[in-house]
């Protein structure tokens, strides 16, 4: 139990720190790398609470695909690497205020309802089989829909991002 707490504490601290850097660093490449840390932390948390399939998927899709996409994006848009004045707005206070207010509201709500709730002590891993059983019975329709969605996104993204002939 303690180990779990300690592990969670460390992961959480790292994630928060990394996330903060994602939104503050002026180097766009650094931001991407900090994002990797956060995503990895999320995956770790998933494993910690027994969501093994999701955790693995998280690593695969996010770190394996999304981050690569980002890197492509950074390069295709020829963003300046390194310290860049241009990444942020000068006036950050409104953004900070918004985030802080939002956090306050969330915290109040969460503490009020889940202040004393504990996760089950026995966090037995929910197996991939369980997940897939559920997914392909109960959620077959959204699953199919997501496949269409991915296809549409794929085609659309290609059309949009494709350089026009001669243009």
């Amino acid at each position: 139990m303690i180990a779990e707490h300690v592990a969670f504490g460390i992961i959480a601290a790292v994630m928060v720190a990394a996330a903060s850097r994602v939104v503050t660093t002026r180097d766009i490449m650094h931001a991407a790398l900090y994002l990797v840390i956060v995503l990895a932390g999320v995956a770790a948390l998933f494993l910690l609470v027994g969501a093994e399939f999701t955790g693995i998927t998280q690593v695969l899709i996010y770190i394996g695909a999304v981050i690569v996409l980002f890197l492509f994006g950074i390069m295709l848009t020829r963003s300046d690497f390194g310290d860049n004045e241009d990444t942020d707005y000068k006036r950050k206070f409104p953004a900070l205020l918004t985030a802080a207010l939002l956090l306050a509201v969330m915290v109040v709500a969460l503490v009020d309802r889940f202040g004393t709730e504990k996760l089950p002590d026995d966090l037995s891993p929910q197996t991939t089989a369980q997940v897939s059983d559920e997914l392909f019975s109960q959620f077959i329709v959204p699953f199919e829909a997501v496949s269409v969605l991915l296809l549409a996104a794929l085609i659309g993204a290609i059309v949009v991002a494709r350089r026009e002939e001669g243009g």
Binding site: V42, F46, A51, T57, D88, T98, A99, L119, P142
Partner: protein
Amino acid sequence: MYLNTMLLLAAVLFCIGVYGVLARRNGVLVLMSIELILNAVNINLVAFGAFHATVVGQIFALFVITVAAAEVGIGLAIVLLLYRNRRSINLDQVDLMRG
């Protein structure tokens, strides 16, 4: 382990993400901040799934992950398009239409 530790972490991540999308000028960085927000949601979903001992939380999270990936894909496509036409991905310059 308290459920709330997870939830509060998610809340913090969410708000950091919100801060990011508001404070960042660069399109790609905004997209990254969005990922923070979506991951916060996923943490919530998985935590609640564990809390209620149901796989539905995970499944929901899986859908979110998938959709998020698609969104990032087209998001980058649009940013790319923007870049191609404007040679810049600073969002504050995109204000042809207003009022």
